[in-house]
């Protein structure tokens, strides 16, 4: 049975712009639920450049992607937004009373008066290795993540990659598989040195195999692989395998955003510049995902858009209620909400 959650606002995407929206909405007493396909907040800042410095956030001469995310999380904490990670939003449907029904792939249904799409460059999804016909095996015998360990029990498993995911799952699955081969293109790993050492020990003990190479082609039928072909420096070889786990990191895909019936302009959502509302009243779009004349894909633009969007969202959630413009520096009312007065 699906879980039903009722809230003021559903925010699609917990990137920097979505996170700051929770602050602006919170000041106006609107409660937010976030949905993100990633397992943590920060969007591109956390996934693509956590350690890289950003120099154009007002008031921060320099801040890394992760620090900005951490600061935004601290800033919105007083409003206690709720986060639903590892979920993809699949559908948004307008109801007769003007509210929205938002459904995720984790079988949750959210009822909200306002939806804010802060989906940035799209949802993060595993990079598919350029192997012909790999789609037919996906989620049957080729997986990009381990959801159920039992799917790998007594299987001949091939793991490809040299990062933490590849090494962690090599170590975790080794005790339950029939055979395990780790394949990486070189003998250097980006993973934690302790995991690399442990993996090398298992190779020495003959409990797993390590091969230098890349996947070329897959054999099998009805979604079930039986052989993985590898290209190696020593030539091509064919390896019996019943499960393949390629770990090449994530890439952004527009995904279902395109199917929500909103007016689009080249994979971005058209909004007005007064409210940042989409072609469907009650659905707003802020940050990298939106488009209007002169749009700049910068974090600071998304922050500005969030402030204006929140005013318009308030008018939808609490129609007729007068909103008095206040500064956080001088309004004790706002300071109370922030827990500082």
């Amino acid at each position: 049975m699906s879980t039903e959650i009722t809230t003021d606002v559903v925010v699609v995407g917990a990137g920097p712009c979505g996170l700051f929206a929770a602050f602006e909405l919170g000041l106006l007493d609107l409660k937010c639920h976030f949905i993100d396909i990633l397992d943590r907040p920060g969007g591109q800042c956390a996934e693509l450049y956590p350690e890289k410095p950003i120099y154009d956030i007002p008031g921060f001469p320099v801040v890394t992607g992760q620090q900005l995310t951490d600061n935004l999380m601290a800033q919105i904490a007083p409003f206690a937004p709720e986060f639903h990670f590892n979920r993809m939003i699949n559908t948004i449907e307008k109801q007769e009373d003007g509210s929205f029904k938002v459904a995720t792939d984790a079988d949750e249904v959210f009822h909200a008066k306002v939806v804010v799409i802060a989906a940035g460059g799209g949802s993060f999804q595993p990079k598919r290795p350029p192997v012909e016909g790999i789609e037919q095996y996906e989620n049957k015998s080729v997986f990009y993540a381990v959801r159920k360990m039992d799917d790998f029990r007594d299987q001949d498993v091939v793991i490809v990659g040299g990062g933490d995911s590849a090494l962690d799952w090599t170590l975790n699955l080794q005790p339950i598989v029939r055979s395990l081969t780790l394949v990486h293109r070189r003998d250097a790993f980006k993973a934690a040195p302790a995991s690399v050492n442990k993996m090398k020990e298992l190779v020495m003990e003959g409990k797993i195999n390590f091969l230098l190479g890349q996947i070329g082609k897959l054999d099998g039928e009805n979604g079930q692989i039986d052989h993985v072909h590898l290209t190696t420096d020593a030539g091509d070889l064919s390896l019996p395998a019943t499960r393949l786990l390629p770990f090449f990191g994530l890439t952004m895909k527009l995904g279902p955003v395109a199917d929500w019936g909103l007016e689009l302009n080249d994979n971005t959502i058209v909004v007005d510049t007064e409210k940042f509302q989409t072609s469907v009243p009650g659905i707003f779009a802020i940050g990298d995902i939106n488009w209007y004349p002169g749009k700049l894909k910068l974090i600071l633009s998304g922050f500005h858009e969030a402030a204006l969007m929140a005013q318009a969202a308030k008018a939808i959630v609490s129609p007729g209620e007068r909103v008095v413009f206040q500064y956080t520096t001088s309004s004790t009312k706002l300071q109370k909400k922030l827990g500082v007065a």
Partner: protein, 106 residues
């Protein structure tokens, strides 16, 4: 300067390069099939190209960080480079390369 690019469909293009620009930026601005998701920040590997063997010495070897990033594509060859890490200059006039399948947009 000119860059000669073969795209994933095998079509050849001659692109005018601009001194100081990244090769990725030139390929992207000419509208070829390159995702270049991170805009040149060495964080995505979706600007992956194969540099023509004759040009490998001129272009030079990838940095350690670039090698690490190349781990996130499944079609690396000995002449793989990330095109955002190659700067256009007169020395590279005529640079010849091929877009890797993993650089393609969705």
């Amino acid at each position: 300067m000119i860059i000669r690019v073969t795209d994933q469909a095998g079509e050849k293009h001659e692109l005018e390069g601009l001194d100081g620009w990244r090769v990725m930026e030139v390929i992207r601005d000419w509208g070829l099939n390159i995702k270049a998701e991170c805009g040149g920040a060495l964080s995505c590997a979706t600007c992956h190209v194969y540099v023509d063997k004759d040009w490998l010495d001129v272009v030079g070897a990838p940095s350690d960080e670039e090698e690490d990033m190349l781990d996130s594509v499944g079609d690396v060859k000995s002449n793989s480079r990330l095109s955002c890490q190659i700067l256009c200059s007169d020395a590279l006039d005529g640079l010849t390369l091929t877009l890797a399948p993993s650089a393609a947009k969705d």
